[in-house]
């Protein structure tokens, strides 16, 4: 049986037949179908099981508001759960399976839940499964998880790619129905930059599904013509399959474009694009959503929204049923009966909750019940008949229900907007403060007749562009025939004795809302959380208003008094993959590579990520199997002869200006004003609260020119801080900052043979002997026959050492040259591990010590903080709290038993005291194995440390376990007099 329910007409391309597969069954549809329309055309009414009770469920709507028809789309890693069949564009080879059942869809083993429904009512989580407590994790939770929930994830990495992008326009039109197209025509004709977005793959909105005509054409013909005019305009961009899902600050709108979801394969193109739209004005033309009426067993497959029923018939030529009945509280519901009757479909009855006369001509053969109430329905896997309050039974395999239309106000509420109630249309309309630049047109603003929608869109389009300074075109609005739109609010049938559903997706019934009220959850926000009403993929688009009406009835308040829950983005679901965009795996963030990176890779270096930088951690040589072997060798070789380390990653800031010296004097806590040209000085930078911020060196190359270095980690924040000082604190100073971190490749050359090595590459007209170029000298030189370089006689390792900088383009060449020139000295490259070992041996503080809690005094540099000048942090560094007699000081530690390994992070306790917080006297900040001393060494902070040399304390490590006796020693483990670095 093929497409047994397909009839003539509609906007489908019958010449392009598409094969697809549902629950293993091979089916056919046409280009232009959604999965839902194709399933209906094939006579599939039941497409899933409900969330809690596993009740049979069918297609309910024809749009993104769908609560029921959620399917798993595609297979394997591409599998996507909870896809709404109503907005899934059919493609050749589509595979879908229904969700939420064990065994087959028709004979679900979990349907037994329905029999226990009295245990699963509102708040059942909080009631039923509380005792005994131990049962929760092991029994209740896993069982409930397995029984409830929607679709399943593949458990594999998402193989698709996603992208992001930025759009800019004068006017963003959200929704391309009658209002959106009219507004876009107005804005486009005036010459504004316009973007039109619609979630559908075919623009036109309800023009494509209604039989109303516009300007003597069918609605869809008019839409096609409008789209042709718009796409011919260079200033208009039309985006189908694109949902504006959120309205944010200052006119920013988030949108999701589904680029390849309608294709069998995305062919390595992004599946979806998350757009950030910067727009001066937004015209929200999101239309309206029909809502149901609650009555007994109103959740059976075949019970559908009335507007959806005629949409399937008119747009897709798909019949939801052969014998259709309508239950409505408004005139619009009757359109379903008249449209279907015109197509020759049997209408068994029209039940109108209102008293009085039918608003339109009655379809032939239909029973008409004015003031009617449906109390129950029958049919195991789909409706077969329904029962009225007077006991009358009427056959129908499709019951089209209309409780009126709710304007889609969601985006108007994403900032501070609160919708207001309009009694005449029994609906909330946009109210309060709308997001910046937003206007609303068409059904979204409460204009529910096509003629008013067209005019409203046209006028708002014109007023928005004239507001932006464009001259609106003189073209008149399109018009359509008049229609009746009367409604009398009616939310649920009280006479129903059986469960009446409000929220189909979350299985929330009228009784649940009443129970919630009874138990004290009366605010709408509490109601939502207690019953889960309005949660999950549909966010209660069809359920919220009827449920609020029931709540209002319970509390005796009006609907506007009851209010709605707050709408938040996203309007429809957005995949996490789309939010992540490209930022996955190694692309999570960019990587910065130092100039010697390629060379280091060739050496087999092991890299470590330091912020975005990749730094060589150590350089294993053949035969070395443990990192310690490599590091011990690098340290030993450097201290014995010479080593080379890439220090490019340190921040470099070029400071120039007439007041450059005075400026540095203010940002450094120690004196800088009198630093002679050709000299480098170590500087400490404090935060204004007196805590250490950063340390580094500054070299004076000219009277008005300094080159500052910062730590790698603080390069950006120190620059920012100095710009703050320059612009905000001392704007009268002539000083200019620019980063030169990227400009220079810089290498440390350290060890007793450092000078000899450098003398081989430095051009002979530059004297770098100890006399001519002593410790802390700096200068501009040339190397290798004229290449400009900067040389600094500074040492982090404690050895005779230099740092040499060349323009980055020479960095790769320079490291290779240094290695070649150093061959005769058995030069070694060293990485960050050896750098760490040597600085700990030398007692130099680094990031572990400058941790945002320590002061210059703690670090033993209190005397550097000048009291004779104004500089950042100096005043507050004198606070009592930072100058306690028993304050911390940085000292060295070694294990009493030299074979033991110190642990960074362990805490110090005086011998004999209990190891607890009260007796905590400080912590070990850095440890290393010193190959020179042959044992573990550490730096750490301990109270009055400098007065306690030789004392043995307990180092305890309660987190990882273990404690040991350690001796307090000088932090300068090697060469305490500094003879080496001055040699």
């Amino acid at each position: 049986m093929n497409q047994i329910n397909r009839i003539d007409g509609g906007l489908i391309n019958r010449s392009n037949k598409l094969n697809f597969n549902f629950n293993g069954q091979s089916l056919e549809g046409y280009e232009g179908d959604t999965l839902a329309s194709a399933l209906l055309a094939n006579g599939h009414r039941m497409v899933g099981r409900s969330f809690k009770y596993h009740r049979p469920r069918g297609i309910f709507s024809a749009g993104s508001e769908e609560p029921n028809a959620l399917v798993q789309l595609r297979t394997g890693a591409y599998q996507e759960p909870n896809t709404r069949a109503t907005v899934t564009e059919l493609f050749h080879g589509l595979e879908a399976t229904s969700q939420n059942h064990r065994g087959s869809l028709k004979y679900d083993l979990m349907a037994v839940n329905d029999l226990f429904s009295s245990f699963l009512s509102a708040g059942f989580y909080y009631k039923t499964f509380m005792w005994p407590k131990a049962f929760w994790e092991k029994f209740y939770e896993p069982v409930i998880r397995a029984a409830a929930g929607l679709g399943r994830l593949s458990g594999e990495d998402d193989p698709d790619i996603y992208d992001k992008g930025f759009l800019h326009c004068d006017v963003l039109v959200v929704g391309a129905g009658a209002a959106g197209l009219s507004a876009a025509l107005s804005a486009g004709r005036a010459g504004a930059r316009v973007i039109v977005m619609d979630e559908d793959f075919c623009m036109g909105g309800r023009l494509n599904v209604e039989t109303l005509s516009v300007d003597d054409k069918s609605g869809s013909e008019w839409a096609t013509q409008a789209l042709a005019e718009l796409s011919a305009m260079g200033n208009v961009r039309l985006m189908t399959r694109t949902t504006a899902y959120g309205a944010y600050d200052h006119g920013i709108v988030g949108a999701l474009e589904r680029v390849t979801d309608h294709l069998i394969s995305s062919e390595k193109k992004p599946r979806q694009i998350l757009w950030r739209v910067y727009t001066k004005r937004t015209i929200l033309c999101a239309g309206a959503t029909e809502r149901p009426i609650a009555f007994g067993n109103n959740d059976r497959p075949g019970v559908m929204l009335a507007g959806a029923v005629r949409a399937y018939v008119n747009r897709w030529g798909a019949l939801p049923g052969k014998r259709v009945a309508v239950f409505t509280n408004n005139d619009d519901g009757w359109r379903t009966a008249t449209d279907l009757a015109a197509k020759g479909v049997e209408i068994t009855a029209v039940i109108d909750s209102r008293d009085g006369q039918p608003p339109v001509d009655v379809p032939k053969g239909a029973a008409i019940v004015m003031g009617g109430r449906i109390v129950d329905t029958k049919g195991r896997h789909g409706i077969r008949s329904f029962t009225l309050s007077n006991g009358q039974q009427i056959p129908a395999d499709c019951l089209a229900v209309s409780g009126g239309w709710s304007p889609n106000v969601q985006l108007t509420c994403h900032q501070r907007g609160r919708p207001t109630w309009r009694e005449d249309i029994a609906a909330f309309v946009p109210g309060g403060e709308l997001p910046q630049g937003m206007s609303v047109a068409g059904a979204a603003s409460g204009n529910l007749s096509l003629s008013s929608v067209l005019l409203n869109g046209h006028d708002i389009g014109n007023s928005v562009v004239s507001d932006l300074g464009f001259t609106p075109s003189k073209v008149k609005s399109s018009s359509s025939e008049e229609e009746t739109t009367g409604i009398s609010a009616f939310w649920h049938v009280r006479e129903s004795k059986v469960r009446a559903w409000l929220d189909l997706q979350n299985d929330v019934t009228v009784k649940d809302v009443k129970l919630s009220h009874q138990e004290g959850f009366r605010s709408v926000e509490h109601l939502k959380r207690y019953t889960t009403l309005g949660m999950a993929t549909d966010q209660g688009k069809t359920a919220n208003i009827p449920a609020l009406a029931v709540m209002a009835e319970c509390t005796g308040k009006s609907l506007p008094e009851t209010g709605t829950t707050i709408f938040r983005p996203p309007y429809t679901p957005v995949a996490i993959g789309a939010l992540a965009g490209r930022a996955r795996g190694k692309d999570f963030r960019p990587s910065r590579l130092s100039p010697s990176h390629s060379w280091a890779e060739e050496q087999g270096a092991v890299f470590v990520e330091a912020d975005m930088w990749y730094r060589a951690q150590w350089f294993p040589r053949t035969g070395e199997t443990h990192w310690r072997q490599s590091v011990d060798r690098e340290v030993t070789q450097t201290r014995a002869s010479v080593g080379v380390c890439d220090v490019t990653t340190l921040g470099k800031i070029d400071v120039q200006g007439r007041d450059a010296a005075e400026f540095l004097n203010k940002v450094y806590a120690n004196a800088f004003a009198k630093l002679p040209v050709g000299k480098v000085r170590y500087g400490i930078m404090l935060r204004e609260d007196g805590i250490m911020m950063d340390d580094g060196t500054s070299a004076r190359f000219a009277e008005n020119h300094f080159v500052m270095t910062t730590t790698t980690a603080n390069a950006v924040s120190v620059f920012r801080h100095m710009e703050f000082c320059r612009q905000c604190l001392w704007p009268e100073m002539d000083v200019h900052l620019i980063s030169s971190t990227e400009q220079y490749a810089q290498f440390a050359v350290a060890g007793p043979n450092a000078r000899k090595l450098l003398q081989k590459v430095v051009d002979s007209d530059h004297d770098i002997s100890n006399e001519a170029f002593p410790f802390m000298a700096c200068g501009e030189i040339t190397i290798c026959g004229g290449v400009p370089a900067r040389l600094f006689r500074i040492s982090f390792s404690g050895e005779l050492a230099y740092e040499i900088a060349v323009p980055t383009r020479y960095g790769d060449s320079l490291v290779r040259t240094l290695m070649a020139a150093g061959e005769e000295f058995d030069v070694t490259p060293y990485g960050t591990e050896s750098l760490g070992v040597m600085r700990i041996e030398k007692g130099h503080a680094a990031g572990n010590e400058l941790n945002g809690q320590t002061t210059a005094r703690d670090l033993g540099m209190g005397r550097m903080v000048s009291k004779k000048k104004d500089s950042i942090g100096n005043t507050l560094s004198e606070r009592d709290g930072l100058n306690l007699e028993n304050g911390l000081s940085l000292v060295g530690f070694r294990p009493v038993n030299r074979s033991e390994e110190l642990k960074a992070g362990s805490h110090f306790i005086t011998k004999g005291n209990t190891a607890n917080m009260a007796n905590d006297e400080g912590w070990m900040s850095s440890v290393a194995f010193s190959p020179n001393l042959g044992h573990s060494i550490g730096l750490g902070f301990i109270k009055r440390g400098s007065e306690r040399m030789g004392e043995v304390v307990l180092a305890t490590d309660p987190i990882r376990g273990g404690e040991m006796d350690v001796e307090i020693v000088s932090a300068h483990f090697i060469d305490p007099e500094g003879e080496r670095l001055r040699g």
Binding site: Y248, I252, R720, F724, Q727, C728, L729, E732, N874, L876
Partner: protein, 95 residues
């Protein structure tokens, strides 16, 4: 969020880094008798207005200017954006 830069026009907040209350540009005199007290107030005591707030933003991914943005903390509306340097200089000339 968009900050309307005085020279460069509207820019996404992603280009900026927030610092805090604009009063941070009024650093106390280190030689005042009550300098410690003044610095304590400067650094730690802040108004927390429900309404207009003048605050410092740094255009790090732009022209590296420090700006003083007047933002309503209730509505997020930005009513004024100035160069902090201009404000600092103007306040100096007042003194």
């Amino acid at each position: 969020m968009i900050i309307n830069h005085p020279l460069l026009g509207p820019r996404d907040a992603a280009e900026f880094v927030y610092k805090g209350d604009a009063s941070l540009i009024n650093r106390p005199d280190w030689q005042a008798d009550d300098a410690a007290e003044l610095f304590h107030e400067y650094l730690y005591l802040r108004d927390n207005p429900a309404g207009e707030h003048r605050e410092l933003w740094y255009h790090e991914q732009g022209d590296r200017s420090w700006l003083i943005v007047t933002r309503n903390t209730l509505t997020h509306d930005i009513s004024k954006v100035e160069f902090a340097r201009d404000v600092a200089l103007a306040e100096r000339s007042k003194k």
